[in-house]
């Protein structure tokens, strides 16, 4: 089962789903079929993805610099970007591995894997930020908490919507 097939098949976080839902007062308007255009069913939002990715990138940079400052001093800034890239893979691989194990053990239903990877990676990044005193740790932690709460709430909303329809 693909991780992202279930979470709407698009890189849409629950936080942004709620923002879009509230901003459009209950639902996004359908895109009319225009001749010569073939709209995607679930394209997702580039703005959202880049916004979250930028935040995560800054948080990773903060953690990488803090961790390398002690042994390297000012040279830490030189290795900040590759260090952050390595950290990203460490966090990412760890949560994919944990997700795989949890799924095989029957603890994690396949539809929840994408959320598990996303929230897990975000949470470990926030924790690393808090431990190292990185500047973006608290806003990032807030995002992760909202994300962890928003996903189940969103599911409830969807079920309510479907029952009401």
């Amino acid at each position: 089962m693909r991780a992202d097939e279930v979470f709407d098949g698009t890189p849409r976080s629950a936080t942004f789903w709620w923002i879009a839902k509230l901003a459009s007062a209950g639902g996004a308007p359908p895109r009319p079929g225009v001749e010569g255009e073939l709209p995607a069913a679930r394209r997702g939002s580039g703005v959202e993805t880049y916004a979250l990715s930028s935040l995560a990138g800054l948080a990773l940079l903060g953690v990488a610099v803090r961790w390398m400052e002690a042994p390297l001093g000012g040279w830490a800034w030189l290795f900040a970007v590759p260090g952050a890239f390595v950290l990203l893979h460490i966090f990412g691989f760890s949560w994919v591995g944990l997700g795989e194990l949890a799924q095989r053990a029957g603890l994690l239903p396949p539809p929840a894997r994408a959320s598990f990877h996303g929230v897990g990676t975000g949470a470990s990044l926030a924790l690393a930020g808090l431990l190292s005193g990185a500047p973006l740790a608290y806003p990032w932690l807030a995002f992760v908490v909202v994300e962890a709460l928003a996903w189940p709430l969103r599911k409830i909303w969807q079920i309510t919507d479907e029952e009401g329809a």
Binding site: P11, L38, R43
Partner: protein
């Protein structure tokens, strides 16, 4: 002595990186995708020196008035866009309906769909041609046969063959220019049977016969096969380009068709005119979308002008 088979799988032409990328796309939280794509684009840009140099030289030949650093930035943009098209292709190839398509040149597209008999769709290494063909093939009323150069490494070729098998249908099939010299005959037979054949006309790979064309005032090497096929079969040629417009949004640009017919004594002129028409269309597209021309070999031969 060539490197051992196992090591070759880890080279830039090996299957390891493709499989790793596909695995990553399947498991990566979507909101981290730009970080992975950006990071790996930098890694490949730094590591793949011959490809980087070729991109820089091509861009300098295309835009000689721009400062040298612009060609380096441009080369990175090509790698970055290439990475995004691969990522999009992996998601879409896995069954996710995530790409918005738009057709530019709707009149020509309708004409192609309504036309009967064989036709050659001539395209370039841009955007996501791998992805567009199966999406639109069903609209042409006859089978579209996409011709591809085989991968340099056997493992990667096997991997792609397996993946593309899943895309094949009654309306779409993939053929490989694997050498042996029989492909031209096969394609001519398909055209005579009224089918469409999609070929790439901007890159000379392996032992493909080259022709000379003119792009941006410079001499370029192009594959001769598509033009020879058009002359031999008399089938019209439809230039078509796939362009990435933005976040999961692609445009199919269909141009007016041209034919390559002439008396026996005029073959040289007909070939030259056909190549010149193709080059004019390609140059117009590249002028705006040069950062999506995924040609990682030097195409400019150093000469100026002319088409032969």
């Amino acid at each position: 002595m060539p490197p051992p088979r196992l090591l070759r799988r880890f080279s830039v032409y090996g299957d390891f990186w493709t499989r790793f990328m596909e695995w990553g796309v399947r498991h990566c939280p979507g909101w981290l995708e730009p970080l992975f794509v950006g990071g790996w684009s930098v890694v490949f840009f730094l590591v793949c020196a011959p490809q980087r140099r070729a991109l820089v030289r091509n861009l300098r030949a295309m835009f000689p008035d721009r400062p040298p650093w612009a060609a380096w930035v441009g080369a990175f943009r090509v790698v970055w866009n290439f990475a995004w098209t691969l990522t999009d292709a992996t998601r879409a190839g896995g069954g996710q309906d995530i790409i918005d398509w738009r057709i530019e040149g709707l009149g020509a597209f309708r004409e192609l769909a309504a036309s009967e008999g064989g036709g050659i769709v001539l395209t370039a290494h841009m955007g996501n041609y791998d992805l567009a063909a199966p999406v639109f093939a069903g609209r042409f009323g006859r089978r579209l046969n996409a011709v591809r150069a085989p991968e340099r490494e056997a493992e990667l070729q096997r991997h792609y063959e397996g993946r593309r098998k899943g895309q094949e249908s009654e309306a779409f099939s993939v053929r490989y220019n694997a050498g042996g010299g029989m492909l031209g005959v096969e394609l001519a037979a398909l055209l005579a049977a009224g089918e469409l054949v999609a070929l790439q006309g901007d890159r000379v790979l392996f032992d493909v016969s080259p022709a000379t064309g003119c792009l941006f005032g410079g001499e370029v090497r192009l594959p001769k096969g598509p033009f020879a096929l058009a002359m031999a079969s008399g089938a019209p040629v439809w230039p078509m380009f796939i362009i990435r417009d933005g976040w999961r949004r692609y445009r199919v640009r269909v141009c007016e068709p041209f034919e390559m017919r002439g008396a026996r004594g005029e073959r040289t002129r007909v070939m030259r005119d056909g190549i010149a028409t193709w080059c004019a269309e390609l140059e117009e597209v590249l002028r705006d979308s040069w950062f999506q021309w995924f040609v990682f070999e030097e195409v400019f031969t150093g000469g100026r002008g002319g088409g032969r």
